[in-house]
């Protein structure tokens, strides 16, 4: 019997393949599923459901045939505009309409890991290119990603690399490289930071492009983590990638991305780090392991995470099928994620977003409720027309009856069946004013704003 915590989940009486689990998979590895997608996943079983998430075929609707071309046009236009809001809107367009939501989830995770802010970089084109690097390399060997980032103009400008010169060291990049990007805190000494800063001298940015300035590089011998040599940036990256601590840090990052609060203990993370060490730090295969595991589908991992703002905003639009026939304004969606506490391309600092319980600030809570109201009132769409949830019910469960619609909405939003007393309380709060549609939309907004809907 395989006793690894990462052994694959197999449905059992105590842990059946059910709505909660199919819902959890799609929330965590993407941005929520529609009812039809959940039904298909439930019918086909966990293995196929995970396969589809991994191979980018999990979405049944709302993937435009010209997605790739449109996304590229939007991205290039945003990059050329010097308007960071358009870049945010571009990314939300990708999250909303891509065939491969897992790729965007990982891109978000890398944006959090190598957290770089436009506030200091002040170059929309560079932020765009960095984001495409996360997307392109974020599922392969971690070393490829790390080496690319050490040549990334946005990251280098963010961490003062161009002012780190021979005999004039600036430790900013060296410290964060070891503390946040690879080893993790406590796995190196202050002297390692100073020596690594010397190894990183010469990295530069000229007119937005990466340059290596040999005249600024300190080519004397350095000693980092007990190894002495004439280290340059690439050699330093190799040295750090070979450290066991880097796999530990990476395992922590991936658990932090996909699992609930306190779900993976130290031993569990260590087991994942061992896989990573034996597998060239391959991110995609570690994600495969996580998403298929008993840990992932275990009872402790269900509803054990406070959803991030991007997941809440995009997930609500996806689950409620508000993406068709008229798409919402992605500029507005970007504004909402910011009000909820996650301004894309503007992480609060190099540590990224604290996340977890930190998401539920007072303003975040009020903003979530107000987003729910905006969605239900049709204010996310340019034409201001409220969504028609009776038709959503008719499409999915063949009835327009308000109680059935509310039950359906509750299940796609929270992954759980709405108990009758909560349903009554919501109906009461929604009140009697207006048409039947008005009442239903108010109830949907209340469902979305309730505490339970903040957990994924």
């Amino acid at each position: 019997m395989n006793t690894s915590p990462w052994s694959p989940y197999r449905p059992a009486d105590a842990e059946p393949w059910n709505l909660e689990r199919a819902w959890t998979l799609r929330r965590r590895a993407g941005f929520a599923a529609t009812w039809a997608e959940l039904e298909r996943d439930l019918a086909d079983g966990p293995e196929k459901a995970v396969d589809r998430v991994l191979d980018g075929s999990c979405r049944l609707a709302g993937v435009p045939s010209d997605f790739a071309r449109t996304a590229e046009l939007l991205g290039d236009a945003a990059a050329g505009s010097s308007d960071a809001r358009r870049l945010q809107a571009w990314w939300l367009f990708r999250c909303l309409f891509t065939h491969d939501p897992l790729q965007e989830r990982l891109t978000l995770a890398w944006h959090d890991h190598f957290a770089t802010s436009q506030v200091k970089v002040d170059d929309v084109g560079a932020m765009h290119r960095q984001n495409e690097t996360f997307r392109k390399l974020g599922r392969g060997p971690f070393g490829d990603l790390l080496r690319a980032l050490l040549h990334d103009p946005a990251l280098l400008a963010w961490l003062d690399a161009p002012s780190n010169r021979k005999q004039k060291p600036n430790e900013n990049l060296a410290r964060e490289l070891m503390e946040l990007f690879t080893l993790g805190v406590g796995r190196y000494s202050e002297s390692d930071v100073k020596e690594a800063a010397r190894a990183l001298t010469g990295l530069g940015v000229t007119q937005g492009r990466f340059t290596m300035r040999a005249d600024r590089h300190d080519d004397g011998p350095k000693t980092v983590l007990g190894k002495t040599g004439n280290l340059d940036p690439d050699a330093l990256a190799d040295l750090l990638l070979a450290q066991p601590a880097t796999a530990d840090r990476l395992a922590w990052r991936l658990c932090n991305t996909f699992l609930g609060e306190n779900v993976a203990d130290a031993a569990t993370r260590t087991a994942l780090a061992e896989q990573l060490r034996g597998d060239g730090l391959h991110v995609g295969r570690a994600v495969d392991t996580i998403l298929r595991s008993r840990i992932f589908f275990g009872p402790r991992n269900l509803h054990a995470r406070i959803g991030d703002p991007v997941g809440f905003v995009v997930g609500s639009v996806r689950a409620l099928e508000c993406f068709a026939p008229r798409p919402p304004s992605t500029l507005l969606l970007a504004e909402w994620t910011e009000r909820l506490g996650q301004a894309l391309f503007f992480p609060p600092n190099v540590g990224g977003w604290p996340g977890g319980r930190g998401w539920l600030s007072g303003r975040g809570v009020v903003a979530r409720a107000n987003f729910a109201a905006a969605l239900a009132e049709g204010r996310l769409h340019a034409d201001g027309k409220p969504p028609d949830f009776a038709s959503l019910a008719e499409r999915n469960v063949k009835t327009r009856e308000p109680d059935a619609a509310l039950k359906l909405v509750s299940e796609v939003l929270s992954g759980r069946v709405l108990d009758p007393s909560s349903a009554d309380a919501i109906q009461r709060s929604a009140g009697d004013a207006g048409s039947a549609n008005d009442r239903l939309n108010r109830a949907v907004a209340l469902l979305l704003a309730r505490p339970e809907s903040q957990l994924v």
């Binding site: 506490g341 996340g355 009461r428 309730r450 957990l455």
Partner: protein
């Protein structure tokens, strides 16, 4: 489309009663002692403020040696003690010392200092150095867990950052807002889930959501009231201090407010950035204390300002400074023992090129916890610490 918020708030909150007892009908209740009690405002200078260019040891012969490019000329500093002067942009802080409302605690730090922003900030926010554990609660959250439970938020973070860990608590309610535009709820609050959830995360979410709605309504009402001529500078920090003042004036039950001023991570071209930040800090602090004094509330308030670490005495090659260790802490309000507390670390006696600390930051916390908030400091901090003379006796 939504009916009037106030009307629905009343009905919707009835079902929240188990979570927030007596939360709503505040107007019918007499003020409890809590509402007239003492308040601590904590200001986090985020990024690691360069202490020796804030409280400048111009009398230390080694200052000029370490600070060749970033040196503040002796004739520019605002002298506040023997060989000690404030950064020239902190005129308002010098005025606070003149009017006996500002204490500067020198050389504050902790054993085995960590030069990581995140570790060091976690140490300051949890007051548990050497015990890295993601589950550690915040020092202020623990403090208010130990306080009698009021009927509203015990801790309010005013800012648009994620809620800081210092406020993480087991039971005490906390919430956070940035400005008046965050407060208008366009939705009747959803009915609460079962308030008695045994699951910690679910209980947290229920409590936090309910507290957020109720506090939004309170602060919105406070922000709408005309305010008798308080004068604040136009900075974001000043606006946050103003919201704190309004909340105190509106008899909020909160005993702790938390604010963050970011931008102190000055690895390059430090001088103009730090100068602007220190000016914003000093001006906002004076405006806040003057506003409360005019409302006869200043005696209820103490302000603590800290940074996660100071910076290395030796400047780097890009007109900036890298991460260091000990630094000064400010405590302000009419109840403080105004002036310099403790000894500035000597620039001629460094350890690994960094300043040695002389006062443990938990001593400052302890003084404020039992000396100011009347809470059991030793229990909250898990040990006995000295009590520097920061408060008037």
């Amino acid at each position: 489309m939504f009916t009037r918020r106030d009307l629905l708030r009343r009905s919707a909150f009835l079902s929240l009663a188990p979570v927030v007892p007596e939360f709503l009908d505040r107007t019918t209740r007499a003020a409890t002692p809590d509402r007239d009690g003492r308040v601590l405002v904590v200001l986090q200078l985020d990024g690691g403020n360069d202490g020796i260019n804030t409280v400048v040891p111009f009398g230390d012969e080694n200052y000029n040696k370490h600070r060749r490019e970033l040196r503040i000329p002796t004739d520019k500093v605002l002298k506040v003690g023997e060989g000690i002067g404030l950064h020239p942009s902190m005129r308002a802080a010098a005025d606070l010392i003149e009017s006996h409302r500002l204490a500067i605690v020198q050389g504050v730090g902790y054993p085995n200092p960590d030069r990581s922003h995140f570790e060091s900030m976690a140490v300051w926010q949890t007051a548990m150095p050497g015990k890295p554990d993601a589950a550690n609660l915040g020092w202020l959250g623990r403090a208010l867990d130990a306080a009698p439970r009021g009927d509203g938020p015990a801790l309010i973070h005013v800012g648009d950052e994620n809620i800081p860990r210092a406020l993480f608590s087991r039971r005490a309610a906390s919430t956070s807002f940035a400005d008046a535009s965050d407060l208008a709820l366009r939705l009747p609050p959803p009915p609460a889930e079962s308030a008695t959830s045994t699951d910690d995360l679910t209980a947290f979410v229920n409590r936090t959501v309910a507290t957020a709605y109720a506090t939004a309504a309170d602060l919105e009402a406070a922000a709408a009231k005309p305010d008798g001529g308080a004068r604040y500078p136009g900075s974001g920090l000043a606006k946050r201090f103003e919201l704190v003042a309004r909340s105190i004036k509106a008899k909020s039950p909160a005993r702790v407010y938390y604010l963050i001023q970011g931008g102190y991570d000055t690895h390059s071209v430090q001088a103009p950035a730090q100068s602007a930040l220190l000016r914003e800090l000093a001006d906002a602090l004076r405006a806040f204390l003057d506003d409360l004094a005019a409302s006869k509330l200043a005696d209820r308030v103490a302000v603590l300002a800290f940074s996660e670490f100071g910076r290395r005495p030796e400047e780097n090659g890009s007109l900036g400074t890298d991460h260091g260790t000990a630094g000064p802490v400010f405590v302000a309000g009419p109840s403080v023992q105004s002036g310099i507390v403790g000894q500035a670390p000597s620039l001629g006696d460094l350890e690994n090129d960094d300043l040695k600390w002389s006062i443990d930051f938990r001593s400052v916390y302890a003084t404020l916890l039992d000396g100011w908030l009347n809470l059991p400091a030793d229990e909250i901090l898990g040990g006995r610490f000295s009590r520097p003379m920061i408060l008037k006796t």
